[in-house]
Point group: C2
Chain length 350, copies 2
């Protein structure tokens, strides 16, 4: 996976050079902050691994790897505006950087600059959404139907599933805990995290076999592999949101608690705890002024059975993913790499 990541990073450098020339300066700066801001590059690497596993040439698939990273990035930029998050991976988010740039350029007051930052982040995300699709037109030496299927799946199913998940996330944040069901949480996770990983695997395999996604059983099976990986990834992410280390995650621990984030772990804990403990947990989740003691209380309340059961769920999503993988591909070093990818979903600490 490291070789593929390096290949991707080289191509990314060329892409950001292009964006610097083409986009208004502030929009470029916001986008570049995210694209260069590190991250695990899970999505482009998954796409390239699937292209390779399906017998394709990874170099030829690079425009699609850039497209999915750009797609992921525009959703993050808008997500950060919606969630009022100030930092991501230790860097200022788009609207915060935009705010700073507005102050530098026109000496704006705090309020006006904050408003400018939000505007710039909205437009930067819009611009990158379009660019992600446009990038797919740079795919060469594939049949037109293959490329068309990647484009129509991106602008169709993928975007609509992902945005439905995002909207559900926002809606759930306004529901009382009594109205938040595990089913709703899983639908949200499937859209917000599962849909794009599924697309990455499908697109990679479809390119590897130069066949439209819909007509490529390998692509569809690898899509299910990746979707299940994505769900395991998100369950682990929510566990790290409670038990992770701030320095490794690049975001303040406790923010999920402060926001009362609707997670499977929280639902499970509220369902499993005694009435008294559940009431105590509910009283802390979503409170803006939590203390370090409150964080410890939440950790203790969720520990034991709730945590174990969500960890078990995450493991079984990984197992389902691995079954899909075995159906999709015969044994090979490439399949082993995808096996390792799935195993990392629940083992990671950042």
């Amino acid at each position: 996976m490291d070789d593929l990541r390096n290949l991707f990073l080289e191509a990314l450098q060329q892409e950001t050079n292009y964006l610097q020339k083409e986009l208004p300066h502030h929009l470029y700066a916001i986008i570049n902050g995210y694209l260069q801001g590190g991250g695990k590059r899970l999505r482009p690497c998954l796409l390239l691994m699937c292209a390779q596993a399906a017998g394709g040439d990874v170099e030829k698939a690079l425009p699609a790897a850039l497209a999915v990273e750009e797609f992921h990035t525009w959703t993050l930029i808008h997500d950060d505006v919606i969630d009022h998050d100030d930092f991501r991976r230790g860097n200022p988010t788009g609207h915060i950087l935009g705010c700073r740039l507005g102050k530098e350029a026109w000496k704006l007051s705090d309020n006006v600059a904050a408003d400018y930052g939000v505007s710039a982040a909205i437009l930067a995300g819009d611009s990158l959404q379009a660019r992600a699709t446009e990038k797919l037109f740079e795919l060469k030496d594939f049949q037109p139907q293959t490329i068309m299927s990647l484009i129509s799946n991106m602008t169709g199913l993928l975007t609509q599933d992902l945005l439905a998940g995002e909207q559900l996330d926002v809606e759930m944040s306004h529901m009382s805990w009594n109205d938040v069901t595990e089913d709703t949480v899983m639908t949200m996770i499937n859209g917000k995290t599962g849909a794009l990983l599924k697309y990455c695997a499908e697109a990679g395999a479809a390119l590897g076999m130069d066949t439209p996604i819909e007509a490529c059983p390998t692509a569809l099976q690898l899509g299910q592999f990746a979707r299940n990986c994505g769900i395991a990834f998100q369950l682990q992410d929510d566990i790290l949101g409670i038990y992770g280390e701030e320095a490794k995650l690049g975001k303040p621990i406790g923010s999920d608690i402060r926001e009362g984030k609707r997670t499977l772990l929280a639902c499970r804990a509220l369902a499993m705890l005694s009435e008294t403990d559940a009431a105590k947990l509910r009283s802390i989740l979503g409170r803006a002024d939590i203390t370090q003691d409150d964080i410890t209380t939440v950790r203790n309340l969720m520990n034991g059975k709730p945590l174990e059961s969500v960890q078990n769920d995450a493991e079984s999503y990984v197992q389902t993913a691995l079954s899909c993988l075995e159906m999709a591909l015969p044994a090979s070093p490439c399949r082993d790499a995808l096996h390792d990818f799935a195993m990392k979903m629940t083992k990671r600490v950042m």
Copy 2:
């Protein structure tokens, strides 16, 4: 044009039925408010007129007519968030409707509901941006290259030009009048209004001749026709923003003055007026607490030479458009209809 508008409106009804089934309810409600909210349907009608003028079948071009209306609409939804506009064509804008829906659904407080409204409007715009592109895949009985050229131009040049114009509009609002040049204003108008009208004409003609846009001289010439119409349209729009009637425009007169909107008319007036009058005008433009007397003062100051010179400019953009039209097409009833379209740009009162 009325026949084409009715044909479009029928297809629009089917499209909104589809969106109602597919999208999260609040996102659908926001989008539907704009799509059903009237408006002149200039863009889809222009596309269909150009398809017809280039010898095509308008029924077959309908998905593209819907795509450009949806494209226009997502830019309006995000634009209204950025400009904090509460009404458009007399209807509540997306974030205002979203705010109301949030209150109804979860009894949110005013602040939380306003924040929810903005989130929902951002996601509704994102969703519709993707849908506009996806809609182009419904074009049937055209060569793949023709359809591909419509898609790549939409996600490439069109979106980037339009967003660069939008960003320039936001940036200019923070510049002092001394730094706002006529050139910058014209670049902004070219992007914000010219780019989409150009695309509509290009796409329509390319479909009419079933040829990719780049390989179709008629499409490129009609694109220039439409771009010039778009600029004339915007110059007239800015005149109506000062001299129009509130009831006809569906937005409060004086809002352009209150916001200190950077228009060619304002630039021209500031350049042509005596130092004293220019200072008086500058002191009113952009002030939040203007009175009816201030509006009258601005109208009087801009009247005469500044207004006439911008009206002359608008007329000469129409004349340029008509020259492009004559080069693009031989005389025909369809060309006459496009001629009428151009003439309406500067004659309209709403």
